[in-house]
Assembly symmetry: C2
DNA sequence: GCCTAGCCTGCAAACGTTTTCACGCGGGGG
DNA sequence: CCCCCGCGTGAAAACGTTTGCAGGCTAGGC
């Protein structure tokens, strides 16, 4: 025998409630590609942090396209999203993002906003200097970088931090040793080839993100270049990286979950107090030596290009 | 000078529209863990297929917990989801899923439903027999399996297909060579250790999914076991696997995007015609030889357990 | 015992759409 | 010549909830 209420199985209509309360109970996550493991992890942590507050997560892709951003900005307004977290940047557009002017409270991650326009979460890049120091101590002088898209906040900041660190340690940056590309697996895979075919290839390389490091290692693998014997690699990455490449990587690390959690808290604080001054959160990042860097042996021929005959698992 | 309409910047309220039309424009994806690259890829393809139909994707986690399923089933009804796609199964619960009884149209992926209750998308397992044949041709007789959770549709079906294939080829299944576990990276990583410490370890192993294969390879790596020289590995996986482990793996393959696309089409068909007879879609799967299997050399000591001193990238 | 304050209950308005219906007009067919 | 139909416009009802308000009841204080 059921109670009357249970029998009726009354389920309140959240749409009707949202119409009256002005809160839909949805938050949007805007990413270039949810198939990228980093964004997957990000979405996971975000959902965990938002759920206790009664917010469900809507996942949207931009494919890094300006037009998609515009479509989304409108869609998300129509859908009455309570807030949005944007971890995507269409490269090169000088105009401010459509999300910037949206009336939806937003948090931008690794993407600088118009000054004072709203909240942002940024990865600290200061540890890059420690990484360079580490490489120099190991004897490296020709250090390359695969920073990602330079028309993008993350890529540009990393490149600038890298350049400043080299300068600080009185090293010259060879423009042949910079291969920007974007943040995709395939591009970084190709960058390995590009970099090692230079007339004077680097003996150490700095790579910009988890996914890029994964692609870069894949590329090295195909080329038969052994790490760290033939090439030292430092990644600007998160704790996620270790589950993508089967080894402890020397890296400037942030904690993947922390980035999303911080973004969630920033958004929730904004929803609680819409008029609070904009907040800029700096995510800690520390240099952690791993096994992908080693002392330079002068005798070795860096980046010997023999095709890998046998894949390693 | 702007037009009056543009000036007003009229944005229709999708909540109000949903209230009246009875369609919210949201579809839910229920997964155990969006951080798993396979589910990330799945979500990506799903969103691509659903977007043109005006459906936005809400991502939900169950963490494979029955209680979470119940919470979600209620939440998704409140939120007036137009449909849901469930790729998650809480293991071992005899009772039908809470999504089964929900009034929301649903598609179950790799999870059998109560007969005739609704739509499902299932991975074909027939090619497992081809994989076994391949291993036998290479001289293997001691073949192990890491199928995933046996209280789960996917894991159990794979195990049964595997057992049937062995029987068909007149091989005996050693219960020491079966390590179920679940679908997680860590568990499969540990399974490698378990399997190779058996008194009489297998010379070839069948692994149940992308993520499990990744963990299994990671585990082998740590143990210093070379593939395929010391151990042949076949994965039941998708095209995604190649971006997770840096080499062509011998596998029974489905196309990752196809699974999600098929699920999306099934859901859309259901929404168009709620009274159509339930549909059961079988996703094609083909055995594709790669480089993770090799002929058995009788002289070799399978699974020599020397700790890997040098990680391979 | 009476008055007032506080609480509970139930009713009505409002949220922003869609959809239906009525109304007026004009044209075409009977 | 009259009627009917179609078209376009505008008004009104409905969707299911929240919330505010009014009214009635109870309890406490004077």
């Amino acid at each position: 025998m059921q109670s009357a209420a249970a029998k009726l199985e009354f389920v309140p209509n959240a749409l009707a409630r949202g119409l009256i309360t002005g809160r839909s109970g949805f938050a949007a996550l805007v990413v270039p590609d949810i198939a990228d493991p980093f964004f997957g992890r990000f979405a996971f942590s975000l959902e965990q942090a938002l759920r206790p507050e009664g917010l469900a997560l809507v996942v949207c892709h931009t494919s890094e396209q300006r037009s998609e951003e515009e479509r989304l900005a409108r869609l998300l307004e129509e859908r009455q999203m309570d807030g949005l977290i944007c971890v995507s940047e269409a490269p090169g557009s000088g105009r401010p993002s459509p999300f910037e002017t949206s009336r939806i409270p937003s948090v931008f991650v690794e993407r600088r906003r118009v000054k004072g326009a709203g909240d942002e979460v940024i990865l600290d890049k200061r540890s890059v200097s420690d990484a360079i120091r580490h490489l120099i101590d190991l004897g490296h002088r020709r250090i390359g970088i695969v920073p990602g898209h330079l028309q993008t906040f993350g890529g540009r900041e990393l490149y600038l931090a890298f350049r400043a660190a080299l300068k600080k340690h009185r090293l010259k940056l060879d423009s042949d040793h910079v291969v920007p590309g974007d943040f995709k697996f395939e591009t970084s895979r190709a960058a390995a080839d590009t970099l090692l075919r230079r007339r004077s290839p680097p003996t150490a390389v700095f790579v910009g993100s988890d996914r890029m490091a994964q692609g870069f290692f894949y590329g090295l693998h195909e080329l038969g270049v052994r790490v760290p014997e033939e090439l030292s690699v430092v990644a600007f990455a998160t704790d996620l990286l270790e589950s993508l490449v089967a080894a402890p990587v020397t890296a400037c690390r942030s904690i993947s979950g922390q980035i999303a959690t911080e973004a969630a808290h920033t958004l929730l604080a904004r929803l609680r107090d819409p008029d609070a001054p904009p907040r800029s959160v700096l995510i800690p990042n520390a240099f952690v030596p791993g096994r992908s860097t080693a002392a330079l042996r002068l005798s070795r021929r860096p980046g010997k290009l023999t095709a890998a005959l046998r894949p390693t698992f």
